[in-house]
């Protein structure tokens, strides 16, 4: 468990030295969300309708952009190999890396999403539901994305490849994440959607470190 916290702290500290790199995912999110009204027009009725979709797809693309870096730097300077050689279980260490990725790339998106929701003129209740789905959904993105990131470690064209592998797997999260807001708009309860998102998050948190560790061992061989 100490190793887990050590890795988490180290990753956060390293990230603090490269603030722009960390924030680029967030900027990307803001820019994408800004482009949609410019492309579609400023009709608030339309924007209100498509806002959940835009904010979700934006979060998806943004976390995909940052996934490439999840293991890349550690792999290049050899520390990933060292981690794999330590007596600590690799899945646990990978879980620490996934959590640090979410803290650095997922959490900022969650925090800025309410502001973007207001820009799209979403009523406050919708904003909270949307933010809630992002809280539950973005860690799933980090979990699944970490597997793809480990699988494509060091491959040519890794970035595009990650999107190809991960986007189809993200679909259920996207469907239920945006579905919650639609259910609210239709006057239905949203609790089922939160339950399903949680039901996706927990197995993802549990199983993805294993798949990820297996993929890393394959890449390090």
């Amino acid at each position: 468990m100490n190793a887990f916290w050590a890795i988490l702290q180290r990753d956060l500290r390293v990230a603090m030295n490269r603030k722009v790199e960390v924030l680029s995912g967030l900027f990307f999110y803001l820019v994408v969300a800004t482009l949609f009204p410019l492309a579609i027009g400023s009709d608030l009725d339309i924007l209100r309708r498509i806002a959940p979709g835009i904010l979700w797809v934006g979060a998806l693309l943004s976390s995909m952009l940052t996934l490439g870096r999840l293991f890349e730097a550690d792999w290049q300077d050899g520390s990933l190999e060292q981690l794999a050689l330590t007596p600590h279980p690799l899945p646990l260490l990978v879980l620490a890396k996934i959590l640090s990725h979410w803290t650095l790339c997922g959490l900022p998106l969650v925090l800025v999403a309410p502001v973007l929701g207001l820009m799209f003129d979403l009523p406050s209740q919708y904003v909270w539901v949307l933010t809630g789905t992002l809280v539950l959904g973005t860690p799933v993105l980090s979990c699944l994305g970490a597997i793809a990131s480990a699988l494509t470690l060091g491959l040519r064209g890794g970035g595009v490849l990650i999107s190809l592998l991960v986007l189809p797997l993200f679909v259920p999260v996207l469907v239920f994440g945006t579905g919650a807001v639609e259910a609210l708009a239709a006057g239905l309860g949203t609790q089922a959607y939160f339950s399903i998102l949680t039901a996706m998050l927990l197995p993802a948190l549990f199983f993805s470190p294993w798949a990820c560790a297996a993929a890393l061992r394959v890449a390090l061989e």
Partner: protein, 248 residues
């Protein structure tokens, strides 16, 4: 029984076995396709509501089944490959992927051709169409990943992990029929209640399904043989094969 499996887990033995099976399986595929098409296009009655246009389902439904079955088969071989570290399993997974992708595409294409006269649209965003499309993307992702890796061992293992992770998506595809209420026809064949279609339609569809099975097996075996030849090209037993001996 296990001895049989272990014997043919060796590429050398499997190469011979596959070579012996291919003519039989492909022969069966041709026979079943001809009889399936004969029953489906010639003998099955015209549908009361959909007219003759429904006959595309004799291609569409078996292709959709096959695209899902092949993904499960890939997950099965991936599991074997990762747990028992057999070389052949990775090659089986790789050999199945293109066929699965083709069937997924065929399913989407024939679905669109059925949808235009029936729904008036080439494409609608319903659960089953969308999940078949996602299955197609999963196949493409697998093929893209494996073709980006040069080292065969890493290629097999990385592909296997991806196939296993993706196979979680296949049940979602199936249950999406139940999850979402859509305009899409309910599943015509179910295991629990009697099928709601004429017997000849069912026979034609099952014949076509068997034909697609045989085709997939034949093509996968052929591809595995090619992969074995590629991977083991340096070994003595390959170089002493009569079909290789003349090639330099």
């Amino acid at each position: 029984m296990m001895g049989f499996f272990f014997k043919y887990a060796a590429p050398q033995a499997f190469y011979r076995l596959a070579g012996g099976l291919i003519p039989w399986v492909s022969g069966l595929a041709v026979l079943l396709t001809l009889s399936g098409l004969w029953v489906g296009l010639g003998m099955a009655p015209t549908d009361a509501q959909q007219g003759e246009g429904y006959r595309i389902i004799f291609l569409h439904v078996p292709a959709s089944w096959m695209s899902m079955v092949i993904f499960m088969a890939m997950a099965f071989w991936s599991f074997l490959g990762l747990t028992f570290k057999t070389r052949l399993s990775g090659m089986m997974t790789a050999a199945l992927a293109p066929t699965g992708a083709i069937f997924a595409f065929l399913s989407l294409w024939t679905g669109a051709m059925w949808g235009k006269p029936m729904w008036g649209a080439w494409w609608v965003w319903y659960a089953r169409l969308t999940s078949e499309l996602i299955l197609f993307f999963l196949y493409l992702g697998y093929i893209a990943l494996t073709s980006a890796i040069d080292n065969p061992t890493r290629r097999d293992k990385a592909g296997s992990i991806l196939a296993l992770v993706g196979s979680i998506n296949v049940p979602i595809i199936y249950f999406s029929v139940i999850w979402w209420n859509t305009l899409h026809q309910g599943a015509s064949i179910s295991m629990t209640k009697a099928p709601s279609m004429a017997r000849l339609m069912l026979v034609g569809m099952l014949l076509m399904a068997l034909a697609f099975w045989m085709y997939s097996i034949a093509v996968a075996l052929y591809r595995v043989r090619t992969l074995i030849l590629q991977r083991e090209a340096q070994t003595k037993w390959i170089q002493s094969l009569p079909e290789v001996a003349g090639v330099e």
